[in-house]
């Protein structure tokens, strides 16, 4: 017998069989095997191999997560993140506290990108004409195609990318263009802030980038802008904005936000004053404001009157901005027309805001000049037969480009088409070669943050499916297929060529490189503010007469969940209730009640929206606060090759997208098709809910004046019952007493907390049908109440996690002690003990409990198993679950504190929702520590408990929202 490699002696486990068989022994074995057969027959027994490390990586302690800095890139701009890694697999994304765009927070899309990594529908292999091929085969085809272009100096080569701010990638593409001087680099991305660049060029002659400093602004106007929620820097902006929304806080006092927009955005909902104006009138509005402020660049062009009511509103706004002067700020939205951006620049210039509340920098984007017309120019070349090799690096233009451009059929003329993307999508299908792309969590890279800071991307895991980065494709085109992405990026930042002969660049450069990889960004690399002179007179095409307000317009916006369609196969995002409508797994044509009535439409009707001979069909959702005659639709749905999650969800808007710049069209025909559509919304009854929310004191709001007069008057309804009003003795939380405070004044309703919670706590998705039945599983939800009159201006968001009541109604009714009170005041859920009577949920006044009506957890898909947080139980069917205050994080902190022989410090435990929150509205901590942030928040006169009159004594309480309206505007 030779010893086996694993050290086990063969035959050891067979030895018991050598005994003489006896009756007793036979019965014993039979009994045991029947029992085993019975048990294993009922449960899945997967075959798993445990392979120990041969050489354990440094710092890796099983059970302890590691965090690595990296960056998520969307629309070209980077958001610095820290990625939690358990035993080599990334499981959760947190913000990078040092990174200027993040400051430790993230948005919902970044939180969900961890699921994109493990998406089982990601493309896994190189394909040629839909057939499985190999990377070497592609290299061969590519070099053959390139060889043909040598003679023409690359005249037939076109590269189509998304917006690229990556210095290293831009350098490589430029190197390629240097090698093939006649080749061209184009870019296409649906939401790439092209109009912002065009507006800056109008105002300053250069496509400059604008960075806002909202913490310095006293009066802010958002012009069709959602700067708190979407676009470059929004996470940072939400933080800066919220820092000035806390009445009674030290500092410069509360700011005041005005919003002029066509459809409700979260920024509009956060505004003290909001004016609903059609997108097509936005430029006239901006011009009106500029003339009120006597801006030199448009002097003499008053702009048309907007009607007496709005004119008065605009005058009050202008007065407020004028008083604020250099502390005023106008923010134009990413999708607003270029003229609006130009006027915003002019107004900011006139206010003296430059250098104070905002500053200009060089553009973030590298290369690909005139991005707006870039795709059109490419297609003209294609039509002219000039393009023989088209390499598309990321993006999905076949789906996302306006159908009027006819991208799909026009590119058929290109001889060789190569597409690099995460999924084998609509564009891949029309390309000869498809290359699976490495997810950003799998590859190296870099990009610029909203202020230009160079942010590093480092891989957390080897590519799951042999994905390639854009770097690798460019390297292959440069004839260096062996160069890795790491090599290229590192070489770029350590100065020059790939590691020299001795294998090392200079020590200083290497150290700086390691440091920036460790930090996630290059310290001090933000683009410096630039002086820029405003043109003396703006050449802007603004009509002097009011436009025909009877015409119906359609406004195109990014889908809050799927963005431009790239996240369509992300089930967390599809199931994430969209802000305001709370619909999931769908798109809708949003319109105001009056617009719908005028068009003869009701919620759920399918409408045909026709424009210049093309039409789409879209289900109608009625949303208060839309501008009259304005319909909002979202790009990013109606995918056909997104994957099992995203296929066929919602509708496609590209047939009626304008071919040129601009994000709205006017003069559409809207007709009823007669068909009906079922939505799956997580919150029904918008019509009556707002009134109840106010009457019942669910959301409590007041003005800054109220607060100054009597701080208590806003939150105190005299509802709180006396402390001795219970038969049971009070809990004594001798160690810690955990609690949470949620500031409704700074919550923007962005949903980041919901996705963060889903990622942290292994919360399953249930699908559209189950959501329609009311079975969504989110542990924290964001309730939305329209508290104004039907068409008016007040929306309240309220995140609702478990309240962890001290006299919890759920605990007394559970027949089996499956939900009990913990020693530190947590209302704990014992999954193992739960038999699923659902009585606890019925008796929960907040309805925060979630039930596994089926086995929702996906235990079969191999890649999704890697996704789970190993510190949190995956729940089976028939079991109740709910927010735990991230008890696993409390435990981790307790273990650490015990090892160090100290108490848990304030801020050491952050719940997933708190950590993600961009505006820092959620604060968690120890109530036994009077100095903790949460104790101080709860000491505020604005503190109130939701439904406190029920004597539930919630541990989660809210700070009433205080607004800062302008007394000159009536009805505030």
């Amino acid at each position: 017998m030779t010893p086996r490699e694993d050290g086990f002696e063969p035959g050891i486990d067979a030895s018991p069989w050598d005994d003489e068989p006896s009756r007793r022994r036979f019965l014993k074995l039979m009994g045991a095997s029947i029992a085993l057969a019975g048990m294993s027959g009922c449960t899945r027994q997967p075959l798993e191999k445990i392979v120990p490390y041969v050489r354990a990586p440094e710092d890796l302690v099983p059970g302890k997560p590691l965090f690595f800095a990296s960056s998520r890139v969307l629309g070209g701009t980077a958001l610095g993140v820290l990625v939690e890694s358990h035993m080599g697999r990334p499981t959760k994304i947190e913000g990078n506290p040092e990174h200027p765009s993040s400051l430790g927070s993230t948005d919902a899309l970044a939180q969900a990108s961890i699921l994109d990594l493990y998406d089982p529908d990601r493309s896994q292999v190189v394909t040629q004409a839909g057939q499985i091929a190999t990377w070497p085969a592609l290299l061969g085809a590519l070099s053959a195609a390139l060889a043909e272009e040598n003679a023409s100096r690359g005249a037939g080569i076109r590269i189509l990318t998304e917006t690229i701010t990556s210095p290293s990638l831009a350098a490589r593409i430029r190197a390629l263009l240097a090698k093939y001087p006649e080749a061209r680099w184009h870019s296409w991305e649906p939401f790439a802030r092209e109009s912002a660049a065009a507006g800056a060029r109008m105002a300053h002659g250069e496509p400059l980038n604008t960075v806002y400093r909202l913490d310095r602004a006293d009066v802010i106007l958002a012009l069709d802008s959602d700067f708190l929620h979407a676009g470059a820097g929004s996470v940072r902006y939400a933080r800066d904005f919220a820092s000035r929304r806390r009445p009674g806080a030290e500092g410069r006092g509360m700011n005041r936000l005005y919003s002029i927009e066509s459809a409700y955005t979260l920024t509009g909902a956060a505004a003290d004053h909001r004016l609903a104006v059609r997108a097509s009138e936005m430029d006239a509005c901006a011009l009106r404001l500029a003339s009120e402020l006597d801006v030199a660049a448009v002097r003499g062009r008053a702009g048309p009157s907007l009607g007496p009511e709005r004119d008065r509103w605009m005058r009050a706004l202008a007065g407020d901005l004028r008083r604020a002067g250099a502390n005023g700020l106008v923010v134009a939205g990413d999708d607003a027309p270029a003229a609006v951006h130009a006027l915003a620049h002019a107004i900011n210039g006139a206010l003296g805001a430059a250098g104070g509340t905002m500053y200009l920098t060089d553009p973030l984007e590298a290369g690909a000049a005139d991005r707006a017309g870039s795709l059109g120019a490419l297609l003209e070349d294609v039509d002219a037969g000039k393009v023989r090799l088209l390499v598309i690096l990321g993006g999905n233009p076949v789906y996302s480009a306006p159908e009027r451009l006819d991208f799909a059929s026009r590119i058929a003329k290109v001889k060789v088409r190569v597409h690099l993307s995460l999924h084998a999508d609509e564009t891949s299908r029309l390309c000869h070669w498809h290359i699976p792309e490495a997810h950003w969590l799998e590859s190296w890279g870099d990009a610029r943050a909203h202020d230009g800071t160079i942010s590093m991307i480092q891989p957390l895991i080897a590519p799951l499916y042999n994905g390639r980065s854009a770097h690798e494709v460019i390297s292959a085109m440069l004839g260096e297929p062996a160069r890795t992405t790491h090599d290229v990026v590192r070489a770029h930042w350590t100065g020059g060529a790939p590691a020299a002969k001795d294998g090392k660049p200079s020590a200083g450069a290497e150290e700086a490189w390691l440091r920036s990889v460790h930090d996630g960004f290059v310290a001090g690399s933000a683009l410096p503010p630039r002086e820029a002179r405003l043109r003396e007179a703006l050449e802007i095409p603004v009509p002097q007469e009011p436009r025909d307000s009877g015409a119906i317009e359609v406004v195109f916006r990014p889908d809050p969940s799927t963005w431009d369609g790239r996240f369509a196969n992300n089930a967390w995002l599809q199931e994430l209730p969209r802000p305001f409508t709370k619909i999931t797994w769908d798109g809708a044509a949003l319109m105001a009640p009056a617009t719908a009535a005028a068009l003869g439409l009701e919620a759920g009707d399918v409408a045909r929206i026709a424009h210049e001979g093309r039409s789409i069909e879209a289900p109608v959702w009625i949303l208060p606060g839309q501008a009259q005659g304005s319909i909002t639709v979202h790009r990013g749905q109606g995918r056909t090759l997104a994957g099992r999650v995203g296929n066929g969800v919602g509708f496609r808007v590209s047939p009626i997208l304008p071919a040129g710049p601009g994000s709205h069209i006017t003069g559409v025909e809207v007709t009823r098709t007669g068909a009906r559509h079922e939505f799956a919304a997580t919150q029904l009854h918008h019509d009556i809910a707002g009134g109840h929310a106010r009457e019942r004191g669910i959301v409590r709001e007041g003005t800054l004046d109220d607060f100054r007069k009597s701080p208590e008057s806003i939150a105190d309804r005299g509802h709180a019952p006396p402390a001795d009003l219970t038969l049971y003795p009070a809990w004594k939380n001798e160690g810690h007493a955990w609690g949470m405070s949620i500031d409704l004044g700074s919550c923007t309703g962005c949903n980041a907390c919901m996705v963060a919670c889903q990622a942290e706590n292994n919360i399953p998705v249930v699908g559209k049908e189950e959501v329609a039945r009311g079975r969504e599983m989110h542990w924290i939800r964001v309730d939305t109440y329209f508290t104004g009159a039907p068409e008016a201006d007040s929306v309240a968001h309220q995140p609702v996690p478990c309240m962890h009541c001290e006299t919890a109604p759920c605990e007394v009714v559970c027949p089996v002690n499956a939900t009990v009170h913990g020693p530190e005041g947590l209302n704990e859920m014992v999954y193992n003990r739960c038999v699923g009577t659902r009585y606890c949920s019925n008796n929960c006044p907040y309805k925060v409990r979630r039930f596994n009506f089926f086995r929702y957890a996906d235990l079969e898909t191999p890649s999704l198993r890697l996704l789970h947080n190993p510190d949190v139980t995956v729940r089976t069917r028939g079991v109740m679950e709910k927010c735990t205050y991230c008890v696993q994080r409390i435990s981790a902190a307790r273990i650490q504190a015990k090892k160090d022989g100290r108490r848990i410090r304030d801020g050491e435990v952050t719940t997933a929702c708190e950590a993600a929150c961009p505006s820092r509205a959620i604060v968690f901590g120890d109530l036994n520590d009077p100095a903790s942030r949460v104790s101080r928040m709860k000491a505020s006169p604005l503190d109130y408990g939701l439904l406190e009159e029920l004597n539930t004594r919630p541990r989660t309480t809210y700070l009433a929202r205080v607004r800062n309206p302008n007394p000159e505007i009536r009805g505030a």
């Binding site: 919150q683 019942r696 009311g774 079975r775 559970c814 009585y839 019925n842 008796n843 039930f851 009506f853």
Partner: protein, 461 residues
């Protein structure tokens, strides 16, 4: 007070014609035992049993699917965590009440007219409870762990959570089921012996012989039997009140507007008796027609039951009125909204139908003509059964679907599995009843013989 009491006693003690004149010991025994032993099984029985057995198979299919997949096959959700499961549980338990009331309380009150209906009313109780217990068992997310609700010593060192009304339910319903079974079985023993004695085939004789537990009809037997039966009646009496009181605690203990009400226990008990008598009528009227038992279940039986329905119906109406009054008088916004939502919300049609069924329809029973017309009485009984089912629907669903936070409001729509389970339990109930009619004396033979005796004595007097 005295006058009312006296009148009530008179009403209860009045026994006009509980047995048709002309019956003798032999004719009573012949007629009742013939249904089991000698008469040809009627075609209507075969058809009826076949239909109900198909429904039982549907129930089994539903249960199998439910166990395989989960309670998600029903229409329940968050916020409406209970739907048909608890509605039907309460409905079935309520139906059972008449049986216990008839057999125990009326026995103790010496209401002899109960004799001809008590046997199948008790059987009805037993079968209704069997249907009822299926629901709390199967409504659990993990029904295979149902035994965790029992207080048994275990290695986990855990007891049930005794503050939960669901644990009280376990005790209340299991006690109720057990006592009902004992009561029914003990009552059957002398008749099982009669069947044993009259059976012609050996196998039948052996089976009834075993079931009769050696009953020989000696004086000692009779003495002990009477004592035991009386004791069991005494035991069962408080259960009539306790079971539905405890069931009502499932709701009353909670904080949900529409559930959180002190009126629930008496209101539920009255409702249970109300629906129970309606179900006895629903069953008795067709059975006496099919088997020609008008001589035993006479018009005066039907009339007495109609009067009880009328009386308990008013208690139930008082409950509805008090629910609405308390909601308004409390000044509590949630309570006010709850009752307005019942009256005008999405389920308003059900609320008004319930009132029409339970408050208006029984008023026809003021008319002697209706009380004495089996057909009209049957119609009223069916309407009351529907009304009482709707009452439970309204209590369970409309309270849950819109509670405190408007953001969490939802709707409840039963699925086909809700219906197949409900109709399946009706099938189970009927199938058991059909088997009972076929194989056991549906009217107590020995007690009816006693009635003959009394009749003769009265004649002689």
């Amino acid at each position: 007070m005295d006058r009312i009491e006296r009148e009530a006693r008179e009403l209860l003690e009045a026994k006009p014609g509980v047995l048709e004149p002309g019956h003798t010991y032999a004719s009573v025994t012949d007629k009742i035992s013939a249904v089991v032993l000698s008469r040809k099984t009627p075609r209507s029985w075969i058809i009826g049993f076949a239909i109900s057995f198909v429904l039982v198979l549907m129930l089994f299919y539903t249960i199998a699917y439910l166990l395989a997949v989960g309670v998600g096959i029903w229409g329940i959700n968050i916020p409406v965590g209970w739907g048909f499961d608890i509605i039907n549980f309460v409905w079935w338990i309520g139906i059972g009440h008449a049986g216990t009331l008839i057999s125990a309380i009326l026995l103790l009150l010496r209401q002899e007219w109960r004799t001809s209906i008590n046997r199948f009313a008790e059987a009805m109780t037993l079968f209704a409870v069997s249907c009822a217990v299926l629901y709390p068992l199967l409504h659990m997310g993990r029904p295979w762990l149902a035994y965790w609700l029992l207080p048994y010593p275990n290695t986990m060192g855990l007891w049930p959570q005794f503050r939960s009304p669901l644990v009280w339910d376990v005790f209340a319903v299991s006690t109720y089921g057990l006592v009902s079974l004992l009561f029914w079985y003990v009552g059957l023993i002398p008749d099982l012996a009669t069947l044993r004695d009259r059976a012609k085939r050996t196998s039948v004789r052996v089976i009834y012989g075993i079931l009769a537990m050696g009953w020989r009809g000696s004086a000692i037997h009779w003495h002990r039997y009477e004592t035991a039966y009386l004791l069991l009646a005494g035991l069962a009496t408080p259960l009539v009140v306790s079971v539905h009181t405890v069931v009502s605690f499932d709701f009353a203990v909670s904080v949900i507007p529409g559930w959180h009400a002190t009126i629930f226990p008496p209101y539920f008990v009255a409702g249970a008796i109300y629906s129970g008598f309606a179900m006895v009528l629903t069953l008795a009227i067709p059975i006496r027609a099919v088997y020609g038992l008008e001589g035993f279940i006479t018009q005066s039986h039907l009339e007495n039951m109609a009067k009880i329905i009328l009386a308990t119906g008013w208690i139930v109406v008082y409950g509805y009125a008090m629910e609405a009054f308390t909601a308004w008088y409390s000044g509590n916004a949630y309570e006010e909204f709850m009752i307005l939502n019942r009256m005008t919300g999405p389920y308003a049609s059900l609320y008004w139908t319930l009132l029409a069924c339970n408050a208006l329809a029984p008023q026809a029973l003021w008319l002697r003509r209706v009380r004495r017309s089996p057909l009209l009485l049957f119609a009223v009984a069916i309407v009351v059964n529907i009304g009482m089912w709707l009452e439970r629907f309204v209590i369970v669903v409309t309270s849950l679907h819109r509670d405190f936070l408007p953001s969490s409001w939802g709707m409840y729509t039963p699925t086909r599995y809700d219906w197949s389970m409900y109709i399946g339990t009706i099938g189970l109930f009927l199938a058991l009843l059909f088997l009972f009619i076929r194989f056991l004396p549906m009217i107590s033979i020995f007690e009816m013989r006693a009635m003959v005796n009394e009749g003769i004595e009265e004649e002689h007097r």
